[in-house]
Symmetry: C3
Subunit: 341 residues, 3 copies
């Protein structure tokens, strides 16, 4: 792809050699000839061997190299990367070793890898790729243009939208964690007979677990992205366009509304509710039933970030405070002592 | 099942239409005709379309709808749910693609799914279900009426009791994490040649790992329930009827006695001991070697819950304390200043 | 193996019955006849049924039992354990059910288990064991003498050194977690087209995930050992001989230099750098971009261990401080009150 074509594709302002051929994207420091990279801030000093750099409009080194000025360089870079590095092409196939129930329905131009299993009543949409070792239970619906990576398991009755990516080891629809103690103290399983709905354009990271609803549904909203090793409990409702980083744990019946950003290793007690637009820092802990309003939050139990920081500063000041109190005590003793003499 | 029969099964007190047919359970707010639900507290205002509600004896809206009064409605609900929604029935089979070593012994009425592997010397008890893609090593003993979900791996020499459920992605018997540094600073593997014993009626959540003992055994006691993505280190001893929530990590040689309740994302240092009946809140951290007495605990390092709360309140009061000290200082300066003049 | 031979192998000083036959290792308290065990500290009172005990040179109970004196008993024990309990021997095979692309290259004396898959362009080194259900993508290079346990997935283009152990459920090379928001608030995937390099003698625990680099490489240095359920983000660089305990999460572009020790459930913000030799306690939290100098660290945000402990002590002293301030206030009121009268 010529630099000129890329500039047009990005609706960017080209300066330099529009005829240079670009074959791939690269990072600013390691990109070489034939690669395109980007700068987020205009202030950074150019020092790249890339053939073209996507820069913000405020960029001011016109002769440094071939550049394309755009509003949001990182976004433009991601967009051109998607063109230069399209998702892996796989020739449509159903591998000879795959086991597909005769009552399953598969779409056109699908890819089904070695040792994949698709149960009775399940449906696989057009152009979806089911990679090696994936196990799909019964009555599962998977939409179009999905990529389900090796060794994923999708339990009976779950529904997956279009353009969903499930990374390797993801487990959709395992039983939630709910028990009732009987008179003898034994734990009796609370029914875990609900299902899971993954909406369109969701991406779920490796070894993440999304439990089925106990009675109703666990839902992951459209366009939400979940990292690796995340736990999503039964009946959790996650809205649209949320981002949830690795190893976060979300207990049963938690609601996370649209457009929330959740750091890594955060823990949510059951029935907590995170309102739309809230941002929660890594390792934070949200108490059961807590309502988290929009804003930035951190700590366990979580507090608004400013309060958390102020509190941390207060803790650091205890030592000085103790010294001050000691001094006052001494002063007071000195002041009052003479009166007694 | 008729409401009347359900009332008898639960030894409950029926009021209303005993002839109504119940086909499934549902949640209080979404249940519809033909469904049974439950109310935990008598004070809740009925507003359900369920055909029958299991309620506590203290319930006082006799004409609201068809009800069954019992001592523990949630337990009764779980018990009737187990009848109305029995575990998935699977016709006994050994899938043509499964590989079972000729020196393995399998019981009667078992189910072995596609791409399952059972190694030499292993035994699978009667009526146990080994689902697709499960890998069972050599000399593994699995009891009766177990359900081993897709892609579980059980290492050589491990023992699984009766009625055990291992959810998808569970790994039993991987090497523990133990090394010794040699003179060159290289890490030499400490022997990890022990095994794992999972007792009867244990349920283990998706992608949870139970490491084998280094020299002895890692043991999960009867009736204990472990959630998803939990780490159980080598030689850990977990007692009977414990409940351990998601993403908790238990280091080597920790002992958790019977009837403990452990929240999510808790961390245990090695050789800690949790005494019978202790309850530990989510995200708590237990130091190596710590003895945790019965009671409720929280925080890192863990403290009795009351102390933890009092300490948190103290931290929040630092700001006021600082103001007070400032005021005292001023007062003191004012008091002493005139003396100097 | 005779005790005498073991003493020679360990260059230790034998005292007692050099002719006794040793078949296996055992723990101090449970070892029986024919087993060898060890004592770390000279002060421990012997009370073992082992046929031989490896002890430190300072050990002073010469007649207690047959002993071998060495400099580092635990290391010697690990070394002799490796001889008495060699890694599992498996007859070389390529299981009939395995699918190996015709354009893959496999070495000599390899073991490939049932339902294993090896993609086009991949290479498996001599004597490497690929166990049941492992999925190896395209253009993957795996070195010599590796053991890849069941259901591991290695994505296209990743490189694994020699003598590497990947425990069951490990996922190497899944896409990193990176997105850019577009004008509509939708998350666009940032390119995740780099790779993963696992150097020689690395061991990675069950269900751990090592993401591929976004543009460059994610690297795990020689001799590093990683526990179960750990998350390693895109472009992370981990040095040589590091030890990282279970459930730790390492965000994108973090650098951990050589010889670091990281506890369990630690969280690293992106672009943090841990300098060679640093030790970080469990559940600690490292802020994005933080430089962690050599030394011992703990807490969130992390602090030097001493400061962390002092701060904790300060927090515990708030109650007393409040009492003191109250007392001072009273004293002051008493002192000043008479002046007003």
């Amino acid at each position: 792809m010529k630099v000129k074509e890329i500039a047009e594709f990005l609706s960017g302002e080209l300066s330099g050699d529009g005829q240079a051929e670009i074959g791939s994207v690269g990072s600013f420091t390691t990109a070489t000839e034939g690669e395109i990279t980007f700068l987020e801030k205009a202030g950074e000093i150019p020092g790249t061997n890339a053939s073209c750099v996507i820069v913000p409009h405020s960029f001011e080194f016109p002769n440094a190299c071939t550049i394309i000025k755009v509003k949001n360089p990182k976004l433009a870079f991601a967009q051109i990367a998607a063109v230069l590095h399209p998702p892996k092409h796989r020739e449509s196939q159903i591998h000879a070793s795959a086991v597909i129930d005769e009552n399953a329905k598969v779409g056109t131009n699908i890819f089904i890898g070695a040792f994949a299993f698709v149960g009775a009543g399940s449906e696989i949409g057009d152009r979806t790729h089911i990679l090696a070792g994936v196990k799909v239970g019964n009555d599962v619906k998977i939409g179009k243009d999905c990529v389900i990576l090796p060794n994923v398991f999708i339990e009976d009755g779950c529904t997956i939208g279009d353009r969903v990516i499930l990374h390797s080891g993801v487990i959709i629809g395992a039983d939630g964690f709910g028990y009732v103690r009987d008179e003898d103290g034994k734990y009796i399983k609370f029914p875990q007979i609900g299902s899971v709905l993954i909406e369109d354009d969701v991406e779920i990271g490796a070894n993440t677990c999304i439990d089925r609803g106990a009675l109703g549904e666990t839902r992951i909203g459209e366009g939400t992205k979940i990292d690796n090793l995340v736990q999503v409990g039964h009946n959790v409702q996650i809205g649209k366009r949320c981002v949830i980083a690795a190893q976060t744990g979300i207990s049963g019946s938690v609601v996370i509304e649209d457009d929330c950003v959740i750091g890594g290793q955060v823990g949510f007690g059951d029935h907590a509710r995170v309102q739309s637009g809230a941002v929660i820092g890594s390792q934070a802990g949200v108490l059961p039933g807590k309502i988290v309003r929009p804003g930035v939050w951190w700590g366990t139990p979580i507090q608004p970030l400013d309060e958390y920081k102020r509190q941390n500063a207060h803790v650091k000041s205890i030592e000085r405070l103790k010294a001050e109190v000691k001094e006052i005590r001494k002063l007071l003793d000195d002041t009052t002592a003479p009166d007694k003499s």
